[in-house]
């Protein structure tokens, strides 16, 4: 409120700016008080808020050509969110600026974090693997940097390795697996055949699926590992070989309702649908995929965001774009409500019970106060359309139905510090 009073005063000192609108507005005397607001965006004391986007290179190793990311995946989400923040900021005298910073895979992010801090970006949206994210968080701690994780789904970042200066927008593997499991249970597809990849991240997703099976009452009737022996994702004689491989992989399992694949590394899961020995649906890393977003999602005003994104970038909006959009919008939303550019005050507001963000999911999204993870519905996507949205009806919770997805407060190992 104090700021607005100051604005009114500063505007009184700038009569030439207000003269014309004043003349019109004063006819309706009541409107005079509004000039302060109108002029706010052009007043000298505009609040400047810089937001960093720190990310590694995008993986080009995809099974489907369609999934190979555009060079600006993630960054585009940040840029659109900055536009949206500025459209709102125009009315409040707030101006947002994005600073893009890319580091190499495996590099120590400390220098990049310090550079962003030097440029005045107190909030940094990130798309980094878990190890780099932790290093970035610890490097930024002394500088008061606040990270918003839009990329890494690892539980450990929200559990034993949680950090008090990291907000998580990306859903965790457990949230994704739980969202999928609830739907499979509703469909009464309780017998799962779990096939997982041999990379660390594949194993983590397989673990999340096992946890979800136990939590919601599914039975894993068989498990198999698909070993990545290296080699290219596609070769000229690929199709024929893959067809045989997938039959071999799936033929000796006991009867099951659904094949659940854990293959974040994109080595085999994309080849499973329509190639299994038994005619069964595929879910997990292929077939029915749990995600935070998809380009066909149009509910609850999402169509407007999709349109806005496509108009600006001439391509579809991906889950990473959406997660980074949400990360940057969180800062904008806090700035409009807390009416400050002070990072500590903004962070305090984001962590307060008053904070929520609208991200086209039909309900307000809030942070879990024990680990700063954003609660959110999980979309189940078949590659063309949204099949369903979890939490499913009937999965109840004493606090929020969204807490039926992922590890809950009583289970957490996180001690924020």
């Amino acid at each position: 409120m104090g700021r607005h009073t100051a604005l009114h005063q500063s505007l009184r000192n700038l009569p030439q700016r207000c003269l014309r609108p004043m003349a019109v507005l004063c006819l309706a005397a009541m409107a005079c008080a509004t000039v302060g607001w109108t002029g706010a965006s052009s007043a000298a004391d505009t609040q400047h808020i810089k937001i960093g986007y720190l990310h590694g290179p995008l993986s080009k190793e995809k099974i489907s050509l369609i999934d190979i990311p555009a060079p600006n995946e993630g960054l585009a989400g940040a840029q659109l969110a900055i536009d949206d923040n500025n459209t709102t900021g125009r009315f409040l005298g707030q101006q947002f600026e994005l600073i893009d910073s890319e580091i190499k895979a495996g590099d120590d992010p400390a220098a990049a974090v310090n550079a962003l801090a030097d440029q005045g970006a107190a909030f940094i949206a990130t798309s980094l693997p878990a190890a780099q994210l932790l290093k970035a968080a610890d490097a930024g701690k002394a500088r008061g940097e606040i990270l918003i994780n839009g990329g890494a789904p690892d539980e450990r970042l929200r559990e034993q390795d949680c950090r008090a200066n990291v907000i998580h927008v990306a859903p965790t593997r457990y949230m994704l697996a739980d969202g999928l499991a609830q739907y499979l249970i509703v469909k009464k597809w309780r017998r799962w055949f779990l096939v997982s990849g041999s990379h660390e991240t594949d194993k983590l997703f397989a673990e999340a699926l096992r946890h979800a099976a136990t939590r919601f009452g599914a039975k894993i009737v068989a498990e198999k590992e698909f070993k990545d022996t290296g080699g290219a994702r596609r070769t000229d004689s690929g199709i024929a070989e893959v067809q045989r491989q997938m039959i071999d992989l799936t033929q000796d399992a006991p009867d099951y309702d659904v094949l659940v694949a854990a293959d974040e590394s994109e080595v085999f899961a994309g080849y499973l649908p329509y190639r299994t020995w038994l005619p069964r649906p595929v879910a997990g890393s292929a077939g029915l995929v749990p995600t935070s977003w998809n380009a066909a999602f149009d509910q609850w005003g999402a169509l407007q965001l999709q349109n806005r994104f496509k108009k600006k970038f001439q391509r579809f909006m991906t889950p990473l774009d959406m997660q980074i959009w949400t990360a940057v919008r969180i800062v904008g939303e806090a700035a409009s409500h807390a009416n400050t550019s002070d990072a500590a005050k903004l962070f305090a507001y984001i962590k307060s019970p008053d904070f929520s963000i609208a991200a086209f999911k039909g309900q307000k999204l809030t942070l879990r106060d024990w680990n700063l993870q954003l609660r959110q519905p999980i979309l189940l996507f078949d590659g063309r359309n949204t099949v369903s949205i979890s939490p499913q009806e009937g999965f109840l919770h004493q606090v929020s139905e969204l807490d039926t997805l992922g590890l809950d407060r009583p289970e957490t190992k996180c001690k924020l510090q």
Binding site: T34, T88, L92, N307, R308, A358
Partner: protein
């Protein structure tokens, strides 16, 4: 999807209509069916659907001209507002609404239409006489709800992602004031005497009562329904009685319409209606409020004096908004 509630209402209605409803109210309600690409025409005498008019793609916002001769319906996916002649029930023209029109409002004189352009962060002003766009006013991200003050001096537009109400001076066609609101503000409505502006926040879950003179939020009304998660309570449409005594707030997927006291701003009652109730309209005599239920494909009829739901009328697929005209 058997709607036992509707059946129950029908039984109740037969009784009520037989005992209390006298014939003679000659009004027509026009209901936009978002998925059906049509407008259902309801005779409020018989409270039955008597005709269906085909429209463009995704009709939502719907308003009648002041003289009742035309009904305007926003066909969002066709980027136009279609004009229906109420005498012939045919589409006779279009208004240049700008892209993806959803909600719009007429000024009290019926001369100008103010259209929220969701994809364009702007409000388009259309002269009804010439059917031409005369101005485009930049507002916040995803403009949604729109209302014109009873004195015609201000058009108010809500923007969903910006979470604000923007006051547009209708003479100057410029934004002159902004009010910050709860998340995803949806609909806006003035009291007939212009003393209050009510704005629903779909995701914020509340109803902001704004003082239009000072552009400040006087109070926020919150809705709580026993046994329902707060996420299910998503306020959208607003209808305030002409005397300002009650406001009816359509609460989306909670399947309820809240009755809010116009003076104390306390919730008086929750009325159970159909599924995902969006918007409504009073019959011109103020006796009934019709509410469009987006998921159950029906319109609930609310007896305003008795504060109860007396009937459910089947309409087209995914009804969204209602406009009222003479028979």
């Amino acid at each position: 999807m058997i709607d036992t509630r509707a059946i129950r209402h029908l039984g109740l209605t037969v009784l009520l209509l037989a005992s209390t409803t006298a014939p003679g109210f000659a009004y027509t309600a026009y209901v936009s069916n978002e998925k059906g690409n049509s407008v259902s025409v309801i005779d409020t005498d018989t409270m039955a659907t008597v005709a269906t008019i085909k429209t463009g793609e995704r009709p939502r916002g719907i308003e009648a001209s002041r003289d009742g001769k035309f009904v305007f319906v926003a066909a969002g996916d066709d980027n136009t507002i279609q004009i229906i002649d109420t005498a012939t029930r045919k589409i006779v023209g279009e208004l240049p609404s700008g892209p993806d029109p959803e909600q719009f409002a007429l000024d009290p004189a019926g001369k100008f239409v103010y259209v929220a352009n969701e994809d364009d962060a702007a409000v388009t002003v259309i002269d009804l006489e010439t059917r031409k766009a005369v101005a485009k006013v930049p507002v916040g991200v995803e403009p949604e709800g729109i209302a014109v003050s009873p004195d015609g001096k201000f058009a108010v537009c809500t923007s969903e992602t910006t979470s604000m109400a923007h006051f547009i001076d209708t003479a100057d066609r410029k934004v002159v004031a902004n009010v910050l609101l709860g998340s995803r503000p949806r609909a806006a409505a003035f009291k007939a005497d212009g003393s209050e502006l009510w704005i629903t926040s779909e995701v914020g879950g509340g109803l902001s009562i704004v003082d239009p003179a000072t552009h400040t939020v006087k109070t926020v009304v919150h809705f709580e329904i026993p046994g329902l998660r707060s996420e299910k309570i998503q306020p959208v449409g607003i209808n305030i009685t002409h005397d300002g005594k009650y406001g009816f707030i359509h609460l989306g997927p909670s399947n309820r319409v809240a009755v809010v006291d116009g003076t104390t701003h306390q919730v008086v009652k929750y009325l159970l209606v159909g599924q995902r109730v969006w918007h409504g309209a009073f019959t011109p005599d103020g006796k009934y409020l019709l509410a469009a239920n987006g998921l159950s494909n029906d319109v609930s009829v609310i007896d305003v004096a008795g504060l109860k739901v007396i009937k459910s009328i089947q309409v087209g697929e995914l009804p969204w908004g209602i406009a009222m005209g003479p028979k």
